[in-house]
């Protein structure tokens, strides 16, 4: 009987101790959180410095504005497969596109090369504008089809598959047309950006060489 009482008392004490520690945690946590979101964020400005700070803010805003690309530029969302043609803050045209599938292709046999079919992300610029482009099939296109990789360039050239226009943005990547218009809006490509015919035509006419492309 005595042992049972002692055990109950010990359990009650342990429970009360736990509650006390938890209470202390809450007290400290809430005390800190009351200064949220940051005690040092609002640095005091002396009255005499207000005009100086205002001027500094204006200069910074001007400098930030200067970082924006001049003239038309392209913004591509690889997750939503959307392309925006913009000029300044204005959206000139929106297009549904297809970006990289993210698939990895592994070459069978001795060479063991592999390719990751991602659309590259970052800041690029239009490096070339091509009408009626030919597709020079890279090695992966043959590996994927289980075909032998040809030695001659003429065996790699294919016409009519990239649409009527192509905008190159470096390292073999292009914004081009597609035969698979029903797959627009999905991630299916090998890294290039596929665009529907009408949108491609508009882009080709509107965007000069050197225009910025932001892919995220």
């Amino acid at each position: 009987m005595m042992i049972k009482r002692l055990l109950i008392a010990a359990a009650a004490l342990a429970y009360l101790g736990f509650l006390a520690v938890l209470g202390a945690s809450y007290f400290i946590g809430l005390k800190q959180a009351s200064s949220w979101p940051g005690p040092a964020r609002e640095q005091a400005i002396a009255d005499k410095d207000v005009a100086k700070v205002e001027k500094n803010v204006q200069q910074l805003e001007k400098k930030m504005g200067g970082l924006l690309p001049k003239g038309p530029y392209i913004v591509i969302d690889t997750a939503e497969n959307r392309l925006l043609l913009k000029n300044g803050d204005q959206v000139v045209r929106t297009a549904v596109v297809s970006c990289g599938s993210g698939v990895v292709l592994e070459e069978p046999g001795g060479k063991k090369r592999s390719w990751v079919f991602d659309t590259p992300r970052g800041e690029f610029s239009v490096k070339s504008k091509i009408t009626n482009p030919y597709w020079v099939k890279p090695d992966w296109a043959f590996v994927e089809e289980g075909e032998v990789i040809p030695k001659g360039l003429e065996d790699r050239i294919e016409a009519g598959t990239l649409g009527d226009y192509a905008l190159g943005f470096g390292q073999g990547y292009f914004i081009h047309g597609t035969l698979y218009t029903r797959l627009l809006g999905r991630n299916v490509t090998h890294g290039c950006v596929r665009v529907g015919d009408e949108d491609l035509k508009y882009l080709f006419k509107a965007v000069p060489i050197g225009a910025k492309i932001y892919i995220y």
Partner: protein, 223 residues
């Protein structure tokens, strides 16, 4: 005499209101200057960065000062050290089941994503219905966490994507109401107090696209 007293009182009240009004403006100005200074350093570079406006309840992806994407927060809760604002870098993205890339070995798996040169198949079901062999937005997790180099741990989740069932709810509650406070208490004693933010989005696609766009090493500003 009475009129003078009334005017004096009105003038004093006016000055007090003016002083109160100028105070917050100065704070806002200081905040704006700090934010612009920090952002300009990041925007000079061509890399993407994010701006997490905690008070404004929104997360933005930007480049060159241009907003590419805005994710408005539906809800948010916080525990721990409040000094997490400033320029940060994402050091780790964690999820229970990370999306995996599909590996194609010719001759072993069926090719579903066609190369530009292959003949298109006949039109049939809508494109959105296809289950493609691809890593898409829909494959991204709806719940994950982001660890930043300043010790801030952010749990991102879509509304309704929390742990399911009674046990799951208990686990969530235990973590938030017991484990975190205790961890913070004992961590703070060792100088390792933690900052824990939980942000919830209305649309599950928002959480998924954050996972897509927030890559390891991305820099950003927390306001």
């Amino acid at each position: 005499m009475k009129k003078t007293a009334v005017f004096a009182a009105i003038a004093a009240a006016g000055l007090a209101v003016l002083g109160w009004a100028v105070g917050p403006d100065k704070a806002a100005l200081a905040k704006k200057q700090g934010a612009l200074n920090a952002e300009y350093v990041l925007a000079k570079d061509a890399k993407f960065y994010f701006v997490f406006d905690v008070e404004g309840k929104k997360l933005e992806l930007r480049v060159r000062g241009m907003v590419l994407r805005t994710w408005p927060l539906q809800a948010m809760r916080f525990w721990g050290r409040p000094d997490f604002v400033g320029t940060v870098e994402l050091s780790k993205k964690t999820t229970l089941k990370a999306p995996e890339r599909i590996v194609i070995k010719p001759g072993e798996s069926e090719l579903i994503a066609p190369a530009p040169g292959t003949k298109p198949a006949a039109a049939g079901a809508a494109a959105a219905d296809y289950d493609l062999e691809a890593l898409e937005l829909r494959d991204m997790p709806k719940r994950f966490s982001l660890d930043f180099d300043n010790g801030l741990h952010v749990t991102v989740k879509a509304k309704g994507s929390g742990s399911s069932g009674f046990l799951g709810s208990m686990k969530d509650a235990w973590r938030w109401y017991v484990r975190l406070p205790l961890g913070h208490l004992f961590g703070a004693r060792r100088g390792q107090g933690q900052s824990e933010l939980e942000i919830v989005f209305n649309d599950e696609k928002d959480a998924q696209s954050i996972y897509w766009h927030m890559f390891d090493g991305i820099k950003g500003i927390i306001l």
